[in-house]
């Protein structure tokens, strides 16, 4: 049945020629991931993907926070589509789950209420003089990685297994709510048993952990987080998930949403500070990866090139289990070897880090 659910919820993903829309927040939280996505597609897979500097935020956060009206966001989305058409592309790929939900919702609204599409065309033309064509296909970047998971497996430098024992690593996959919970047909595997990350994990040798709160929201929720007084809800939801997965001893978490990746990672520090509860082996936290980071490690990318030094929970114990070779001394060196600063050690980080990795520069 689970396999049937996965096969029932398939969607067409283009094979090549993508127009890429970046995420607003990922570039701050996981800056290496979007770059890795482009490199994987362009360098490893030889695909044509256009990273357009002219596109803007989809304004999804403003929309979900009630500061951007529906007509405005529809016009902004229409502008993105116009840019795609002008660049000669038809396959729209977005890096952010919120944006993916926004694009899906707006395309569906235009389908159900054609008058809103007409009004949007008028608004866009009045504001910018542009016209747009709707994309031939709309995909989230995790869909694209899923689409090429076997090609990536064929080029893999390592698999998601313990390098010492050969045992598959236990991986918690977490899907952003706006990926398929709004429109189940928009996600691979649907909303209850999504397969988009599970498929990658399986293809690359890991083992998915099915735990009671697997489907629970990470707690990001715009109103939970943006309204400071509500942030306790956000922490509480992340804690609920972390408590639920802890008995399964996962090696890492992988998520396909910018908010989920960040909060499942950073709230581990907050929870440790709040009540002393830590997760993961020896209480050093459970690393949280993006799917591009996971793919990048499989393909042999340098973890610091992937931006994994930006994580709250240290990834070194995971890298050691995977047998990834890395240079501790370059962890905090950015482009051109420039020192990017080093965070103070936090209670959730492995205490031995100072001893093992604190190489004086």
């Amino acid at each position: 049945m689970r396999a049937k659910s996965w096969s029932d919820y398939q969607k067409d993903i283009a094979d090549d020629r993508y127009y890429y829309a970046r995420s607003c927040i990922r570039q701050n939280f996981f800056p290496g991931s979007e770059k890795a996505f482009l490199e994987i597609l362009q360098r490893d897979l030889g695909k044509d993907i256009f990273d357009d500097p002219a596109h803007s935020s989809c304004t999804g956060i403003g929309y979900h926070s009630d500061v951007v009206p529906l007509e405005t966001i529809m016009t902004v989305v229409a502008r993105q589509f116009a840019l795609m058409s002008e660049a000669g592309y038809e396959n729209f790929v977005t890096s952010c789950i919120t944006s993916f939900g926004i694009y899906t919702e707006i395309l569906s609204t235009w389908e159900e209420f054609p008058e809103t599409e007409e009004r949007t065309r008028e608004n866009l033309f009045k504001a910018t003089g542009r016209e747009f064509a709707k994309p031939k296909s709309l995909a989230h970047t995790s869909d694209v990685i899923f689409h090429f998971r076997e090609e990536i497996a064929a080029r893999a430098k390592r698999r998601l297994v313990d390098s010492m024992t050969g045992e598959p690593l236990k991986v918690v996959e977490h899907i952003g709510c706006h990926y398929a919970k709004i429109f189940p047909k928009s996600g691979i595997g649907g909303s209850e048993f999504p397969y988009v990350l599970a498929g990658m994990i399986e293809s690359w040798g890991g083992e998915c952990v099915d735990y009671p709160e697997r489907r629970h929201c990470c707690g990001f929720g715009f109103r939970n987080y943006l309204v400071q007084a509500n942030r306790g809800y956000s922490v509480a939801n992340s804690q609920k998930k972390l408590e639920s997965m802890a008995p399964y001893h996962p090696d890492f978490i992988v998520a396909n949403c910018p908010g989920c990746s960040m909060f499942l990672d950073k709230w581990q520090y907050t929870i440790a500070e709040m009540n002393g509860r830590t997760y993961g082996a020896n209480g050093y936290g459970i690393p949280v990866l993006t799917y591009e980071e996971m793919a990048g490690l499989v393909l042999g990318y340098d973890p610091w090139e992937l931006g994994m030094q930006m994580h709250q929970v240290n990834v070194e114990p995971l890298l050691d289990r995977l047998g990834v070779e890395y240079d501790p001394s370059t962890k905090y060196l950015g482009r051109n070897g420039k020192f990017i600063g080093k965070p103070a050690s936090a209670v959730v980080n492995c205490p031995s880090q100072e001893f093992i990795y604190d190489i004086k520069l």
Partner: protein
């Protein structure tokens, strides 16, 4: 006397056929499967008296066997009107009137993916549980006795998300009946029923609901379960909101029973279209009127009996078998 063709060999069809034959009509009873009895063949005992389904069905089948009703099994109908019925084999049967008694389809619980039916071992439907009762063995997949069982009402009923807005009527009392049966088998087990309303519409139903609480200590929680997930020890975690206390609720159970609703048959659309009779918005056949003509279609010579027009209890279905015989007699005389 003219021939009357009854389409559907469940309890409604059998009862209609018997009563029509008693009135002197030549009757042909068509059943698409290999057996008479319809869904009732799969039930163990019937609410509210715990009467054996086999006993009720056995009586009807024996009467049909003793009569000279022409029974055709594996006879699938592709079209009909008030003067003839055409079978999938191409054979066309002439008649004076047609009684449509093709019943209903059980809601496919897999559609409610969040409950994990077909994925998690011990998520079963009320129909599966009836089968377990009939086989004389109720157990978890690993053979163990359940220590905690949850029943969830309204699975595929009163649910806009799955396009089943109607109430299936009999699931509430079925849930109470099955909960009592489970409690009798496993007195030490905790049994919970999660409901949004308890609709005890028939004689003796409310009393049974009360007995379930007072005599069997079955717990009733007003709130629908939102999802089921596996736990590390092989049980099922369920989440709900207890809407009487206004608090979220989470518990682990060994078995989750989904009380699946009654939905209209997929082929109703085709049959209605070709016969020129209307369907109700819920996909069941719409009778001529809801009062004096509830076994009649708007088309002369086409009649309905049983759950073809709406979810009904077995007692009601049997009454309609008799009612339709009266209506057909009046029409043909």
């Amino acid at each position: 006397m003219e021939r009357v063709i009854v389409i559907g060999g469940g309890v409604a069809g059998m009862k209609a056929a018997l009563d029509l034959r008693r009135r002197g009509f030549e009757v042909t009873l068509l059943e698409k499967s290999r057996h008479l009895g319809g869904k009732v063949r799969k039930w163990h005992c019937l609410f509210p008296t715990f009467t054996s389904a086999a006993e009720v069905l056995g009586g009807l089948k024996a009467e049909v066997a003793d009569s000279d009703i022409e029974v055709r099994l594996e006879a699938e109908v592709v079209s009909f009107d008030n003067r003839s019925v055409t079978l999938a084999s191409g054979e066309k049967l002439a008649c004076g009137a047609v009684v449509l008694a093709t019943g209903f389809t059980l809601f496919d619980a897999r559609v409610k993916e969040e409950y994990g039916y077909g994925i998690y071992d011990n998520v079963i439907t009320s129909a599966d549980l009836e089968e377990m009762f009939r086989n004389g063995r109720v157990a978890l997949r690993n053979g163990e006795r359940p220590r905690r069982v949850a029943f969830l009402h309204c699975v595929g009923s009163r649910d806009e998300k799955v396009c089943q807005r109607h109430c299936s009527k009999v699931c509430c009392v079925t849930g109470v009946k099955q909960a009592i049966e489970v409690k009798k088998l496993f007195p030490e087990a905790d049994v919970f029923n999660f409901y949004m309303d308890i609709r005890m519409f028939g004689p003796g139903y409310e009393e049974m609901y009360r007995e379930a609480q007072l005599s069997h200590n079955i717990h009733f929680v007003r709130g629908r379960i939102s999802e089921a997930s596996p736990t590390i020890d092989g049980r099922l975690q369920i989440k709900a909101e207890d809407t009487l206390t206004g608090r979220p609720l989470k518990m682990s159970v060994d078995m989750l029973v989904l009380l699946v609703g009654m939905r209209s048959n997929d082929d109703n659309v085709h049959l209605a279209e070709q016969a020129g009779v209307p369907l109700a918005p819920n996909g069941f056949f719409a009778p001529k009127d809801m009062f004096a003509g509830n076994v009649c279609s708007p088309r002369k010579g086409v009649f309905y009996a049983g759950a073809i027009t709406a979810p009904k209890s077995i007692g009601e279905v049997l009454n309609e078998g008799s009612a339709v015989a009266d209506a057909v007699t009046e029409y043909l005389s």
